[in-house]
């Protein structure tokens, strides 16, 4: 099933109206700085301290950043985005804080507000800058800490705040809750699919996401096809189906924890051995890498991205696909949070190899892949539109240097941003999901 572009336009319009839906924050003006500082104090560990101590201001990180490369604006230099955190560290936590206080002004509310654009609307926490740094500074993780400080200070940008508030309050995302999930399942059942939901026990808990329920229904359908094809004991669950975690994206840890724990608790109750995260980039680190830490101990189940699961199943010979043929020319866009932050590079390529397509990699691929521009919630931030467009233009150049007529990816927000860019620039390349390719080409039994 192709993406209905009218639905896509409607989805884009809905995103545009998010800022009006955001509720005011409960943070009084006088408390913003102290709240942000409390978060910084809790989050700065030895690794981050060492990174903040080690910067030599060489500026190489700018040369890896898509937003700097496209705008040539020195304000967007990745390490500059950490100035607020660095100032806090130097004055309050550094070993030489007694010395630094003579030279370093304290952070103010105006500083917090000035940092908002730098860490939200002009950074996708893609982590590419961390690869070029001669000191190995992990800038992206500290941008996230800065976001957490600003979130606690009530300074999440309105569009992102609206979604975070909705997920933290009603537990839904873009209005999608259990009823909408059931409607999507009814639709699939109406077309002959067996879709298990709310089983009391299951080996595998499959998550989906709002984007897949509203927009990329093909990805949800393909996931169902694959799971049934494998004949495994799986289920969706109406209390724990949403993979997206707008707490992580916004930096608001309470919402991140509640969204993550909802899944963890349900997976444990099911006795699940595996939780499969849908094609949603940040959903993967939210559960795979942060889920156990939010839970406070090791998880009694494995977590896999759907692209990782597909690759593993194909490699193990349990999942067979019909080759599409080498006249389909594709390139693969690694979602940053699954690839560079998650280590899933090999598995999607195993899938594409099994599908027999002509994979032509972009000049910057796998660890050095450029972000789609919509990651870390930028796709719901109004002010980020010029940045998203700039990033898309760079990605377009990368794709056009290959012979691919289709970009395959395994992340809903990457698809949204790539499709939005394609629509804006009347680009003739297709954007497809990995699981959709597999679902459409399962070997007949």
């Amino acid at each position: 099933m192709a993406v209905d572009m009218n639905v896509f336009r409607g989805f884009a319009e809905q995103i545009g109206s998010l800022p009006q839906m955001a509720q005011p924050t409960d943070c009084p003006d006088g408390e913003r700085v102290s709240r942000a500082k409390a978060v910084f104090a809790a989050k700065l560990d030895s690794a981050k301290a060492t990174h903040l101590e080690s910067c030599i201001h060489c500026g190489l990180c700018a040369e890896a950043c898509q937003f700097y490369l496209q705008t040539k604006d020195p304000e967007l230099t990745p390490i500059h985005k950490l100035d607020l955190l660095k100032r806090y560290y130097r004055r309050e936590k550094a070993p030489l804080r007694f010395f630094h206080r003579f030279f370093e002004a304290d952070i103010s509310e105006a500083d917090l507000e000035a940092t908002q654009f730098l860490v939200y609307e002009s950074c996708t926490e893609c982590g590419r800058c961390g690869l070029v740094c001669p000191m190995g500074i992990d800038i992206a993780s500290m941008v996230n800490v800065t976001r957490q400080g600003l979130a606690e200070a009530g300074l999440i940008p309105a569009g992102l705040r609206a979604v975070e508030q909705e997920q933290g309050g009603r537990g839904t995302v873009f209005g999608v809750g259990p009823e909408q999930l059931r409607a999507a399942i009814d639709d699939l059942r109406g077309r002959g699919y067996d879709v298990p939901i709310d089983k009391p026990k299951a080996d595998i808990l499959v998550l989906t996401s709002t984007i897949d329920i509203l927009l990329f229904k093909d990805a949800l359908e393909a996931t169902v096809k694959v799971m049934n094809h494998l004949g495994v004991d799986w289920t969706l669950h109406s209390c724990a189906f949403e993979g997206a975690n707008f707490g992580l994206l916004s930096g608001y840890e309470q919402v991140q924890k509640s969204a993550s724990e909802r899944i963890t608790t349900q997976a444990i109750a099911l006795g699940a051995k595996l939780v499969i995260v849908p094609e949603c980039g940040h959903a993967y680190p939210a559960l795979r890498w942060e889920g156990a830490n939010e839970h406070g101990g090791a998880l009694p189940f494995e977590v896999m991205a759907i692209s990782e699961f597909l690759g593993n199943e194909i490699a193990a010979g349990r999942l067979q696909v019909e080759p599409i043929g080498r006249d389909k020319h594709v390139t693969y866009h690694d979602p940053c949070k699954v690839g560079r932050h998650g280590g899933v590079f090999r598995e999607p390529r195993v899938v594409l190899d099994a599908l027999g397509v002509d994979l032509d990699e972009m000049p910057c691929n796998q660890a050095t892949n450029f972000c789609c521009g919509g990651g870390a919630g930028l796709f719901v931030m109004e002010r980020a539109e010029p940045m998203r467009n700039a990033a898309f233009d760079l990605k377009r150049e990368q794709v056009e240097s290959t012979r691919a007529d289709t970009v395959v990816t395994a992340c809903g927000s990457c698809r949204v941003n790539l499709l939005a860019g394609a629509m804006r620039t009347e680009w003739d390349r297709g954007v497809e999901s990995l699981v959709e390719l597999v679902g459409n080409n399962l070997k007949q039994r």
Binding site: L44, D45, S46, A47, A49, T50, H51, E53, S54, C55, I56, H57, C58, G59, L60, A62, E63, A64, Y68, K72, P74, E75, T77, I79, H80, K93, A94, P95, L96, F99, G130, L131, V132, P134, M135, G136, I137, D138, S141, R288, W289, E290, G291, A292, N293, H295, G296, G297, A298, L299, E302, V303, G339, R340, H341, G342, G343, P363, A367, T368
Partner: protein
């Protein structure tokens, strides 16, 4: 007490003490802040990642090379030249033998010293020019970055002028500037000399656990 006696005596001990205590204080402070346990199931080895990243960061990735080659080449010229001078220049080895270690090692010949100095100067000048002319480095540099570069430049310059050991005043000036650099060192970004293996190691370990080579 003459200025030379002051520089060779009390000021040397003072600057050496500030350097040692300052570096130790800063390193100990940042490394003992602590860290939380990561409960996620690892995909790879953090230790291997830490070691691998420490090695890998000496060799920039091909994807970045065309955009960063000037700074990388200049950085290597400066650092290799500087370390060769620091540890293999005959006057320095004499100094280590007489004042610090009690033993020495073979020095490089004078022609190698001159060549090494030129390499180090070329690298340093390129880095300073880049810092001054590139919009990014101009934006993010602090006064301390320039001060550190100027101090190193002056130490190297007076060191070269004092090579022939013909003028005592030049040797004293060189030593005095080197002592100022030692005092400045723990308060500056020059601390990266000691922090870089840890900084690389932390990232390497973090991503190594995730099965990512960074």
């Amino acid at each position: 007490m003459s200025f030379a006696e002051f520089v060779d005596g009390p000021f040397w001990y003072f600057s050496a003490a500030v350097f040692v205590i300052g570096v130790a204080w800063r390193m100990f402070g940042m490394l003992t802040i602590g860290s939380k346990t990561d409960y996620s199931l690892p995909r790879g080895s953090g230790t291997t990642g830490a070691i691998a990243t420490n090695v890998r960061r000496f060799f920039p990735r091909a994807a970045f090379w065309s955009r960063i080659k000037l700074q990388v080449v200049a950085g290597y010229l400066f650092h290799i030249g500087l370390f060769a001078l620091l540890f293999f220049a005959a006057p320095h080895i004499d100094f280590y033998r007489e004042k610090v270690l009690g033993f020495g090692w073979t020095a490089m010949p004078e022609w190698a010293f001159i060549l090494t100095s030129e390499i180090a100067f070329l690298g340093l000048l390129l880095l300073i020019l880049h810092r001054l002319m590139n919009p990014v480095t101009r934006r993010i540099s602090r006064r301390g970055d320039y001060l550190g570069s100027i101090l190193i430049f002056l130490v190297m310059l007076t060191g070269c002028l004092a090579l022939a050991r013909s003028y005592e005043a030049l040797r004293v000036l060189h030593f005095f500037l080197a002592e100022l650099l030692l005092i400045y060192f723990p308060f500056s970004t020059l601390i990266h000399t000691f922090t870089f293996p840890f900084s690389r190691g932390f990232s390497g370990a973090h991503y190594g656990r995730r099965g990512v080579s960074v």
